[in-house]
Subunit: 144 residues, 2 copies
Amino acid sequence: MTGGLRSGEVAERAGLNIQTLRYYERRGLLAAPGRSPGGHRLYPPDTVALLGVIKAAQRLGFTLDEVADLLHTGRRRHPGRDLRRRAQDKIAEIDARIADLTAIRGALAEVVDARCDSLTDCTCTDCPIPFLTISTRRPAGEPA
Amino acid sequence: MTGGLRSGEVAERAGLNIQTLRYYERRGLLAAPGRSPGGHRLYPPDTVALLGVIKAAQRLGFTLDEVADLLHTGRRRHPGRDLRRRAQDKIAEIDARIADLTAIRGALAEVVDARCDSLTDCTCTDCPIPFLTISTRRPAGEPA
DNA sequence: TTGCATCCGGTACCCGGGTACAGGGTTACC
DNA sequence: GGTAACCCTGTACCCGGGTACCGGATGCAA
């Protein structure tokens, strides 16, 4: 009888590296699974689906810490409100990020339109490069 | 007589850390400056402006390697064409990034609208979470 | 019971953009 | 010529999300 899936099987089905499974365990995304008598991990079969959820949440822009948190609070406190609030916060972050990128895009378009020819010694008239002081926030980093 | 600015002065005027100046030197963004008899760096005064340019380029989404490259090719080969082409490439990258973020935003909005209450066991009707297979590209990373 | 595939834990490394620290040498001013 | 402030080199560390390698132990089938 099979007490669960071996790490190699889980990794293959989920499209991940075995090391990544152990990494997720360390990070608190996966509960420590049962073990065979010899110490090999035996995962419950729904682990594969859980990993799919984790990957989906990552695609939504959540960090691994945030995903771990969501998984845990999902089990404990009043869950629904929490997920919705976090999703809304994440939308706000994404909007800010899009606004940043849009501003940068505009500045780049100006550089192209003005036919700038050098970062340091541009000879074009009304060169926009000296005025690139937009976006004094985070340079171009990910959300906090 | 002053043979140039000391690193502390440059760092302060440019709003950077001294370590960062040396880091930029290693990365090829700043040429190795002259030295005092005792070995202290003495920077030409326009270094401060150059650092401003570097920061501007970073804000435009160029990596340090790309900036170094732009600064070098700006001096050598046929410069103008290069800068314009790279700026256009960068605009395309940014557009792709914005498209990704917009898709993610849409998915998050669905999660909010549907009043999902759990990542793993959502009880809402027509829950969108199982369908979060959008954006099979890079998860949410920076441009290549 | 032999042999190969798989897995174990621990540790080190990768990317990009820096920052920090230790232990010493220099500069500048009084 | 003292002494504070500054600077030097070299090395290690930070973040996030993993990946790679090592030597040894297990699992499973013939």
